[in-house]
């Protein structure tokens, strides 16, 4: 019954979406406003309508309706309640419904805005969003039905939504349970945020297409979607950071980022999206690079779909899996069509999109922004090539190859370093034209400050050129960013007599976009500190020690104290070691690395024991253990220097985006708009 309601509403949503597209097209063609309004109402219905199948599926998941194949595949009786809820996005068909539901939320939200001055965009925004939604809904309705059920027929058990003739329902006694790797609190937030990031980039894309079709190619579409883009970026960034944290906590290999194609497929739209965020500033300030911004947003949209395609089609494991997957070729066609049509539209407006201004100097803020875009795109091309090459090799030579972390680290490392350097140079460079003299006057103080990193590195014993360069860059960009804050605050103190705190507060409040951006830069610096620390200075050792025995790494030593094994009420067998940590002989902590074995999924999971400080993490994994009589266990120890700065930086980064993206209250806006004008009239 509930499954019928769920699927029925899914089908109705698909039909309403189809109607909305048709009504928008007709309304636009015939210039009948009421048809466009009708399409708008159809789009407004998307979220409430899709909430029904989502709630139906959640109900089925938490009430153990194992006749429904999806429920049986991703839940089991022993799983805790919250994991049964998160199982909504724990499998293919559920995550596609969830994707559509989030997009529907944005679709509905966008209909509610005041369209007064941008009426001409409306039908095209509706068409773009609803076509995308229609595509994802049709995947669920025709190929990946989350409400499909098991039936017992004379030939065996089959999976179908409608009862096959002569079949009786088949209800498994228990489900197979969620993939153990997904049974982690990080998994509650990571996929939804990533998906939110994905779907919210569709909004600026829809406006970009609307601008291209209507010929309103000024920066209106960018201004309208600036905040949406920032929120999209926030969600995607948060999704990536939480994903990294989850990998660090759950995957048990001492790292946070493995350059896995699934990770990369979420990282690619972030790269182009970040390039877009920077490059739109030039269009707003200087009315330049209009074409380039459109290229970037089209690319970001298609990378969002491409990312979903990569992870959902099976193409990453083999081209053969792609051929066997029902939805793989459809994704391919959708991406090719949207990319082709968008580029076609862009070319048709090519002349209208000519820049009004010209780039005057290579040494200007806008030129450096272009260089920033080149670096982001360089990283993007490298990562895209890295995940595509194994498939190309398989097609051309018949041989699969692995393109692993060493390739990505070597190829993208210098580009990331280049980006860091630009973060230090660009904020001090003027728009239009900078002279070396003036730039030098602005940069010398932070540059001198950054020189302090050299003795600090010498004392810390860091001598390799890559490490020295990396840490110096971090120091330099930190100094520049802090100096920018200080310059602004000092000016306020001088002009208004404010105290330091008020000066900082009102500085950020008055220009939240700029200073929010600097806070983001500060977050990136901290993150870079963590990345450089772990990538260049991580050390590890592994050894088997008897109970009471010790294993050392650097100045740390672990002592194997005890090992216990027990069953939990949620269907796990936990083997937990008790390990003492000392540093230079001084007792520091007791940690508990463990191995969880999930009975339902027949899979183990390694959870590290971590002693965490700002200087670094001692990360201990229980690799193996012998029977008690032999009394020995194998531990792997990693020392991950500075890794916590990665997470701290992540939060600072998020705060920065929030500062820049948070809606201004009306009073602030009025004050901002009126005060300079009033002063000017005097």
């Amino acid at each position: 019954m509930v499954a019928n309601i769920g699927f029925g509403t899914l089908l109705i949503t698909l039909i309403v979406a189809l109607y909305g597209i048709a009504a928008a097209i007709y309304g636009q063609k015939s210039q009948h406003e009421r048809w466009v309004n009708s399409a708008r109402q159809a789009m407004a219905l998307m979220f409430p309508l899709l909430t029904v199948p989502v709630l139906s599926l959640l109900y089925l998941l938490v009430t153990h309706q194992y006749q429904v194949a999806y429920v049986s595949e991703v839940t089991s009786r022993s799983m805790p309640f919250y994991l049964k809820l998160t199982a909504l996005w724990g499998g293919q068909s559920g995550s596609l419904v969830f994707w559509s539901w989030l997009l529907a939320a944005f679709a509905t939200a966008i209909t509610l805005r005041d369209w007064g001055r941008d009426r001409e965009f409306l039908p095209w925004v509706i068409i773009v969003i609803l076509v995308t939604l229609l595509f994802f809904l049709s995947l669920n309705v025709f190929f990946e039905n989350p409400f499909s059920r098991y039936w017992q027929t004379s030939t065996g058990i089959v999976q179908a939504f409608a009862r096959p003739e002569g079949a009786v329902p088949f209800v498994p006694r228990d489900g197979q349970g969620l993939n153990p790797l997904l049974r982690h609190p990080g998994m509650i937030f990571h996929p939804p945020l990533l998906y939110l990031g994905f779907v919210s980039f569709i909004i600026p894309y829809a406006f970009a297409v609307a601008a291209l079709v209507t010929g309103r190619t000024d920066d209106r579409w960018i201004r309208l979607t600036r905040r949406w883009t920032l929120w999209a970026w926030l969600f995607l960034s948060l999704g990536l950071i939480l994903g990294a944290r989850w990998a660090y906590d759950v995957l048990g290999w001492g790292g946070y980022w493995g350059w896995d194609p699934v990770e990369i497929s979420a990282f690619m739209p972030w790269l182009t999206g970040t390039a877009f965020l920077h490059s739109v500033m030039i269009q707003e300030k200087k009315d330049m690079f209009k074409r380039w911004n459109l290229v970037l947003i089209i690319l970001t949209f298609d990378l969002v779909v491409f990312g979903t395609f990569l992870t959902r089609s099976g193409v990453l494991s083999s081209v053969h899996a792609f051929a066997q997957s029902a939805i793989g070729p459809l994704f391919f066609v959708f991406i090719a069509l949207t990319f082709g049509i968008s580029l076609g539209l862009l070319l048709s407006r090519w002349k209208d999109l000519e820049s009004k201004n010209e780039l005057h100097s290579l040494f200007s803020r806008e030129a450096l922004f272009l260089l920033n875009n080149l670096l982001f795109l360089g990283i993007f091309v490298t990562t895209l090539w890295g995940i595509l090459f194994p498939l190309i090799s398989e097609i051309v030579t018949g041989q699969k190859v692995t393109v692993g972390p060493p390739f990505y680290e070597r190829a993208t490392g210098p580009l990331f370093a280049g980006l860091l350097l630009l973060m230090g140079i660009a904020p001090l460079t003027a728009w239009t034209y900078s002279s070396l003299k003036k730039w030098g006057r602005a940069v010398w103080k932070p540059l001198v400050f950054s020189m302090l990193t050299f003795p600090a590195l010498y004392i810390a014993g860091i001598t390799g050129w890559q490490g020295v360069l990396g840490f110096w860059l971090v120091g330099f960009v930190f100094a520049v960013t802090a100096y920018e804050f200080w310059r602004g605050a000092a000016a306020r103190i001088k002009a208004h007599g404010e105290n330091v705190f008020t000066a900082f507060y009102s500085l950020v409040k008055k220009n939240r976009r700029r200073y929010g951006g600097y806070i983001v830069h500060m977050g990136v610096i901290f993150m870079a500190l963590g990345v450089i620390g772990i990538e260049m200075r991580q050390v590890e050792t592994q050894g088997t020690i008897p109970e009471g025995g010790s294993l050392s790494l650097k100045e740390y030593s672990i002592t194997y104290k005890d090992l216990v094994s027990f069953d939990t009420h949620d269907g796990r067998n936990v083997t937990r070691a008790v390990v003492g940590v000392t540093r230079s002989g001084e007792e520091l902590a007791e940690i508990y690395p463990r191995r969880d074995y999930f009975y339902d999924a027949n899979q183990p999971m390694t959870i590290p024991g971590v002693k965490s400080t700002l200087a670094g993490d001692l990360y201990v994994i229980l690799v193996d253990w012998r029977e008690i009589s032999e009394a020995g266990a194998t531990f792997k120890i990693y020392y991950n220097p500075l890794v916590n700065w990665l997470w701290i930086g992540g939060w600072v980064f998020i705060v920065g985006i929030l500062v820049a993206a948070w809606p201004e209250n009306e009073l602030d806006r009025v004050q901002k708009v009126s005060s300079p004008l009033i002063k000017r009239k005097r």
């Binding site: 001055r117 000024d218 920066d219 209106r220 201004r223 995957l251 048990g252 290999w253 493995g258 350059w259 194609p261 990453l316 010209e358 780039l359 005057h360 040494f363 272009l370 795109l377 360089g378 091309v381 490298t382 090459f389 194994p390 190309i392 090799s393 030579t397 041989q399 699969k400 190859v401 692995t402 692993g404 972390p405 060493p406 070597r410 490392g413 210098p414 580009l415 280049g418 904020p427 460079t429 003027a430 239009t432 034209y433 900078s434 003036k438 310059r487 000016a491 306020r492 001088k494 002009a495 220009n511 590890e540 050792t541 088997t544 901002k672 005060s675 300079p676 004008l677 002063k679 000017r680």
Partner: protein
């Protein structure tokens, strides 16, 4: 001086590409306990089943057997290179963390830097074209707003632009 700036930017770009081609750091050959020796080799290998998980971190029994095999070969006095060659002969190039640098595989290494250089060249060409077409008058250099007055000026121009767009 502009020529110097151009030259500086080109040197920066070429250096970036050179650094991209610089070989990654090798593994330390310090005396280590046997597990560490096994892991140092296992880290560079990928089993065909557990995609994208290096052998030293993979917890499946198949990978455990592979690590056992590495240990065995080490005990027999095989070198790191010999062991890697053995695994490649048995299971193909995909066991290596990176495609071996030969034949078709060269593409994986050459495309990113070439694409980057092509992008840089396109940017440079675009820039010179812009400069040729621009008006002869030299733009006024404008400093980053250094004080509150500067910030206010920025607001005025932005507000005016906002109003124009309305």
């Amino acid at each position: 001086m502009k020529n110097h700036i151009h030259l500086g930017i080109w040197v920066f770009l070429v250096l970036l590409v050179l650094v991209m081609l610089y070989p990654s750091r090798g593994f330390a050959q310090e005396p280590t306990p046997p597990d560490d020796e096994v892991n140092a080799i296992a880290k560079q290998l990928y089993c065909p089943v557990c995609e994208n998980t290096p052998l030293d971190a993979c917890r499946t029994s198949a990978c455990e057997q592979w690590r056992g095999l590495i240990r065995e070969k080490l005990q027999q006095g095989w070198t790191e290179e010999e062991i890697k060659v053995y695994f490649v002969a048995e299971y193909g190039d995909r066991v290596l963390a990176e495609p071996p640098k030969r034949g078709f595989n060269w593409l994986v290494y050459l495309v990113p830097p070439l694409a980057f250089l092509a992008g840089a060249y396109a940017l440079y060409r675009g820039f010179t074209k812009w400069r040729i077409s621009r008006s002869p008058s030299r733009p006024d250099s404008r400093e980053v707003p250094e004080d509150e007055v500067g910030i206010e000026k920025e607001y005025i121009s932005r507000v005016e632009k906002e109003l124009e767009n309305r």
